[in-house]
């Protein structure tokens, strides 16, 4: 029917609008509205058909209920109607878009290559599901409902069904049994480990940048891997693992020992993620200040010996802040030139988020 056509057209238009304003959505956190599992609400003001109409706040209206003049009117704005009217209601100007669709748009806009999983060790696990139906089988797998349906079909077809005496007698031919179906479940096979410097020099703005970047990185990786796990590490002079919420809300002060985070990350990988089975993506964001050159050397050693041979890609994003020296990035560039699996990106401001996402994900690894 035509509505499918119209619906697809509408979805296309929504996607088109998002593409048009993509930069704005990427750089402004509030544009990516409430996140609900796999849906993201995105306000798309220009999708409504404009009309000459009264401003809503001025007009007011007639209502019903208790209350003295001056009392607030609570409840919803729209009348709760029990039955269909002749006009569709006011349109909310938010479109629900799946994260998958967003990732697709991101991929298209930045021309990101598909990710090649490391090796072909995509581990799929199988499980048995009794969802099939077959005309033969053991009695204990007999499926009553479909057997009954078959019997009913047969009796109606043969004319023996009487609505006044709706008895249906199944015969052997009607019986249906459950059969096993093998269902392949792709196992979670990729992990992103976010590390962030939460020392005093990382301000709100810097953290916002990290939050936005990680949202888009997650969206893209999720599209490429059926199951994606995320872990979060914050560090100043010491590192600890936290949940997502804490990750984005903590601010501490104190010194910075980057190696502490790297060591914790190593520990997590060793414990939970066998590099032969997992695609591993560590992301580290900091303002580039490290406590000592000694510690930086230590970090480089770790990268060279442990991380780079094992992970798909190690990403370091340096968020510029007015307090940070940015030394760490220079050190990395100097000591690890031409490393294939190390990506370094400098993020000067929110507007550079797009470029940095492209740096991180553009290699297709």
């Amino acid at each position: 029917m035509g509505i499918r056509e119209d619906h697809n057209r509408f979805r296309e238009i929504v996607k088109g609008r998002i593409k048009q304003n993509f930069k704005k959505y990427v750089t402004q956190g509030e544009m990516i509205g409430r996140r609900e599992n796999e849906y993201v609400k995105i306000p798309i003001p220009s999708i409504d058909l404009p009309r000459f109409k009264y401003g809503p706040k001025q007009s007011g209206g007639v209502g019903q209920g208790k209350g003295q003049p001056g009392d607030a009117v609570d409840g919803e704005q729209q009348p709760g109607q029990g039955q269909a009217g002749d006009s569709p209601g006011e349109h909310t100007l938010e479109a629900d878009v799946t994260i998958d669709e967003l990732a697709e748009i991101l991929g298209e806009q930045l021309q990101l290559p598909r990710i090649e999983p490391k090796g072909n060790k995509r581990v799929d696990s199988f499980s048995n599901k009794y969802t099939g139906r077959a005309p033969i089988g053991p009695d204990n797998l007999k499926h009553f409902k479909s057997s009954y349906k078959e019997a009913l079909k047969r009796s109606i077809a043969s004319g023996s069904y009487d609505p006044l005496d709706p008895r249906v007698v199944p015969i052997k031919r009607d019986m249906r049994y459950r059969t096993v179906k093998k269902v392949s479940k792709p196992a979670a096979n990729a992990v992103v480990i976010y590390m962030m410097d939460v020392s005093g020099s990382m301000g709100e703005e810097q953290k916002e940048i990290v939050r936005l970047e990680s949202f888009w990185i997650n969206a893209w990786l999720q599209k490429n891997y059926k199951g994606l796990e995320t872990r979060f590490i914050i560090h100043d002079a010491a590192a600890k693992e936290v949940d997502e919420k804490t990750f984005f809300s903590t601010s501490e002060s104190g010194g910075t020992l980057i190696s502490s985070a790297y060591r914790l990350c190593q520990k997590i990988i060793e414990k939970d993620y066998n590099p032969n089975e997992w695609n591993i993506y560590p992301f580290h964001f900091s303002d580039g200040d490290n406590w000592s050159g000694e510690d930086t050397k230590h970090c480089i050693q770790l990268l060279k010996d442990y991380f780079l041979p094992r992970v798909n890609q190690f990403a370091y994003g340096q968020v510029e802040s007015k307090y940070g020296s940015g030394q760490f990035l220079k050190d990395l560039e100097k000591s690890l030139p031409g490393e294939e699996s190390l990506v370094i990106s400098r993020i000067e401001s929110k507007d550079k988020i797009i470029d940095s996402i492209k740096d991180f994900l553009g290699k297709g690894k």
Binding site: I3, F10, S46, Y54, Q58, D86
Partner: protein, 503 residues
């Protein structure tokens, strides 16, 4: 889509008979059973199975589907005004729901057939809509989907600029033998009246006559030059006749306009129509149709339909209560001069002259009234108090809606204002040659509420696309009278000392 099951068909015959017995008079009504998905589709299409392709229907469909799937709302009933009437029942609703819906639908169908405001609508709209769809598809094949769709978008954004009362005005055809012609001649000959023929050459010397004739001719030309002669509320019609459009664009615009006019009476009689259908479903269900075991379910559904959100306005509720109120008043003779001049409350309360005209009266009301006249005539102060009606407004300071007043005249005024032109600004074409440069000037008849500026500007952009030349709207922005102009690139705003005061 499927026909009714034998059980429902039996019930339908029964209900139809009962409805006819109480005096309802309707076109043949065809019920079909549809799944919730089909119902959402049909609802997105405004009740029709086929519409022209447009993404807006897809948007409505998505919203309806989501809100149904999340359990926020559910469509019980859908009926369209055609002959025969088509009504849809949702598969899987309970038996009592289906009965209730059928009774409700017969109420609507009676209203469609008998209410005077539905008189001029096309009762074969089903075919017409399919016809429109074919035409638009053909244009899309020829000129491409996007150009046609973009143009539909433009038309739809002007869709509400029609003259809702135009279908009810039959313009008197001008009789060529009437005085119009001699008057024009008289106007042109420029002579003063002469009683005595010998005075002619003194009173009307040839030079004088020539001068007068020239003057008059100029006056006449000036008069004719104004397009439109009078402010034209049917902006769509005006654009069809005067905007530089390709043939297909003209046709698309005419389609949008025809459909807007088709849906207009439903908007004009919303309260009455729902009130009337609810009145009858409750009457028929409780008196004739239901059996004892169904009463609780019925009460539940019925009260759900009648519920009012705190600052909502439920046309079902207000409509049914007003009809009941009218019936009671006319049964007791609470009308006429004697009643309105009575000032004693106790006397009024006990007033019962046993006139028993109620039933007759409500049938009369459903025939001749629309929402505006209905509220204007039958909304009484007692009714407002009893139903706890109030006016609310938005408080800029607290950022909340709050109760403004419970004063009866103000409630009535507000309600009537909301209903007149469906609470939309009244806008008409005033001048198609504004500034003597072929620019279009519209005027907003300002009644105390300003238009939403961003929407206004976006709409003006669309208007400009159709008109081709710059467009202007005379309105009020931030309490200042202005003419907003858009020339295809930029907006400008000219302050007016004197706003053309509408009306």
């Amino acid at each position: 889509m499927a026909n009714l099951t034998p059980e429902l068909e039996k019930e339908r015959r029964k209900i139809m008979k009962i409805a006819q017995d109480v005096g309802l008079d309707f076109y043949e009504t065809i019920f079909e059973i549809v799944t919730y998905d089909q119902l959402n589709q049909i609802a997105a299409y405004g009740g029709f199975p086929v519409r022209y392709p447009h993404w807006r229907f897809g948007m409505d469909y998505e919203q309806l589907s989501k809100s149904y799937e999340y359990g926020l709302s559910k469509i019980y009933e859908l009926v369209i005004n055609t002959d025969p009437c088509y009504a849809y029942l949702m598969e899987g609703n309970e038996f009592i729901d289906q009965k209730l819906v059928m009774a409700h639908v017969y109420g609507h169908c009676d209203f469609f057939k008998n209410n005077a405001w539905f008189g001029p609508t096309n009762t074969k709209m089903m075919d017409q809509m399919a016809n429109h769809a074919t035409r638009i598809r053909r244009y899309m094949d020829r000129f491409g989907v996007e150009p046609v769709e973009d143009f539909i978008d433009v038309c739809l954004s002007l869709e509400n600029l029609i003259d809702r009362h135009a279908p009810y005005v039959t313009k008197s055809k001008q009789d060529p033998n009437e005085e119009v012609v001699p008057q024009a001649v008289e106007r042109h000959d420029g002579k003063l009246k002469v009683h005595k023929s010998y005075m002619e050459k003194y009173i009307n010397p040839p030079e004088f006559v020539a001068e007068q004739q020239q003057k008059k001719a100029e006056e006449f030309r000036n008069q004719v030059q104004g397009v439109p002669e009078n402010p034209e509320k049917d902006v769509l019609k005006f654009l069809m006749d005067h905007a530089p459009l390709a043939a297909w664009q003209q046709d698309v615009l005419s389609i949008i306009r025809a459909e807007a006019y088709y849906f207009a009476p439903q908007g004009m009689t919303k309260i009455m129509n729902e009130g009337w259908a609810s009145y009858w479903h409750s009457r028929l269900m409780t008196e004739k149709i239901m059996n004892d075991s169904e009463i609780i379910d019925f009460a539940d559904r019925h009260s759900g339909t009648m519920a009012m959100a705190p600052n909502g306005f439920n046309p079902y509720k207000v409509g049914i209560e007003l009809f009941r109120n009218i019936e009671e008043r006319w049964n007791k003779g609470q009308f006429g001069r004697e009643w309105s001049e009575c000032t004693r409350l106790d006397e009024k309360k006990a007033w019962d002259k046993k006139t028993n005209l109620g039933r007759e009266k409500i049938f009369e009301v459903r025939k001749h009234y629309n929402d505006v006249t209905f509220i204007d005539e039958f909304l009484t102060e007692e009714f407002c108090v009893e139903n706890k009606l109030f006016v609310y407004k938005f408080n800029q300071r607290t950022n909340e809606y709050e109760v403004d007043t419970r004063d009866f005249p103000l409630i009535k005024k507000k309600l009537l204002f909301q209903l007149t032109n469906f609470g939309q600004p009244i806008i008409s074409v005033v001048d198609a040659n504004h500034n003597n440069r072929g620019e279009l000037l519209l005027a907003h008849m300002f009644e105390g509420i300003e238009m939403q500026p961003d929407y206004m500007k976006a709409t003006m952009q669309n208007l400009q696309k159709i008109w081709g030349r710059p467009v202007h709207v005379a309105t009020v922005v931030d309490k200042e009278r202005v003419i907003i102009g858009f020339d295809g690139k930029d907006f400008d705003s000219v302050s007016l000392d004197q706003l053309p005061t509408g009306s």
